[in-house]
Symmetry: C2
Subunit: 316 residues, 2 copies
Amino acid sequence: MGKNVYVGVDLGGTTIKVGLCDEFGRLLHTYEGPTGTEHGSDVVLENIAQYTRKLVADSSHEWEQVAGIGAGIAGFMDIPEGFIKLSPNLGWRNVPVKKILEEKLGKTVKIDNDANVAALGEAWSGAGAGIPNVVCYTLGTGVGGGIIINGKIYQGFKGMAGELGHITVVPDLEAVRCGCGMKGCLETVSSATGIIRMGKEAVERGEHTSLALLSDLTAKDVCDAAKSGDEVSLRIVNRAALYLGKSMAAVSVILNPQRFIIGGGVSKAGEFLFTAIRKYYQEFTQESAKEGVDIVAASLGNDAGIVGAAGLNLHS
Amino acid sequence: MGKNVYVGVDLGGTTIKVGLCDEFGRLLHTYEGPTGTEHGSDVVLENIAQYTRKLVADSSHEWEQVAGIGAGIAGFMDIPEGFIKLSPNLGWRNVPVKKILEEKLGKTVKIDNDANVAALGEAWSGAGAGIPNVVCYTLGTGVGGGIIINGKIYQGFKGMAGELGHITVVPDLEAVRCGCGMKGCLETVSSATGIIRMGKEAVERGEHTSLALLSDLTAKDVCDAAKSGDEVSLRIVNRAALYLGKSMAAVSVILNPQRFIIGGGVSKAGEFLFTAIRKYYQEFTQESAKEGVDIVAASLGNDAGIVGAAGLNLHS
């Protein structure tokens, strides 16, 4: 029998992506297919099982080499029990994912939330490889987070650790309500949604900006306009970076991680955004807490989820 | 040979306190003597060694039962190496504490900073006993902090984790400079020093307050006046509680600890202060991150340091 390999499942609302990793987190083979969300959880879980068998069969590995399977899922869950309490984007309530998949596949299955799993992927074999303590931000529709301590996902008391998008950073006078119910959360300014909102508001206020010429504004539009010198867009991207930097200052005096990793769609704005984030981080972080700390871009892209899910059986 | 016991050393600028604990963190015996700071580090370390031998001899235990010795020290240090880089209150620079004490006593010696050690004491056998993930605040001259994850002190990359007094919480317009170099740190409003400062400022502004009648204002004076209904003092104590609550809200979405423990001189203001802290914590913390989380007073008082130091050999 060959070496152990691990299967990671990235369960999205439209597509299920599965990948095979070796024990070093190297992605050996991938496969993907439709989720079938509309057919309900039984079909979705059967799809996961089939795609997983197909993935292994198509690779040069034996089924016996599969030492564990992990899945990253968006939603509220009981992680040790592998039980989804509520997943709004899948329309699931009370689905015992671990139990069902273990029965179907005869392998140990672990689940975790998508932001944690992406963080683990980056920490294991992406931008955090070899660094024991990293904190990851995912700047997408919302702002997700994941905290890796000694190479493992840190869950906290009820799995709520790493909810970095809900650090309150915006002062009361400028704060808007967040989806979580609080005001002034990082997510309201540093997510794609927040950037789009600020862009639309500027246009509505009649500010002089090239964004006024665009319909269906995206966060990329705002970042591109900023790079082209549009002052309003520059102000918006700077604001997103400012509050990210401030939140990292808080994380640094609380956890003192060695590295921050930033991924997600918004992070594709590139060095332009990272330069601003680093500047504000330096400005707002206590001297000793920032010593030797770096801020880098995620390196696995969309594969972070499958790699991290595969790693759940080694690093949790 | 009887059961293992552990020695904890609380090294203060004036007094060295030593204590003997069993494997459950129960304090069996204590001893204390002058530090002898003025005679330099060689004498201080010899005093520690002598007090430790005396402690064990006076107790009903054999020297052979001592399975480890720990010391809590204020200052900057290399914790794994047991090396003090700088301790302003002892006037030390580059003192290899671990190495010297191990030679003198023939036992394993571990050191850590005083706030971390007090946190470990409370987590081990004080207000956090049985709770794996707790965050401790010590409200004294400054605001110290300690983070306990899975029953162990979490140090972070360069030992700067748990510097809770330096979370930026005060909005720019009201922020004053902190000793650490930044502005708006929690320590500027929620430490004894911060409370005294706000009291003096109110008196200087000519506000109507009973504090004006006192010389040599202490944080206890302000808390007592607040309890007696002095409105200015009430506002000051509320402000200290407000920003503590806000900092805990940030800690909760980052780490999601199960329990917050608050100790130090200011915490002796009692239920009056805790009621305010809990109110603000509830107000500013995201729903899921505060679920089931409690905020309690430290229970070991001045013994937290020696108990936690004794625990360094079991919990680090």
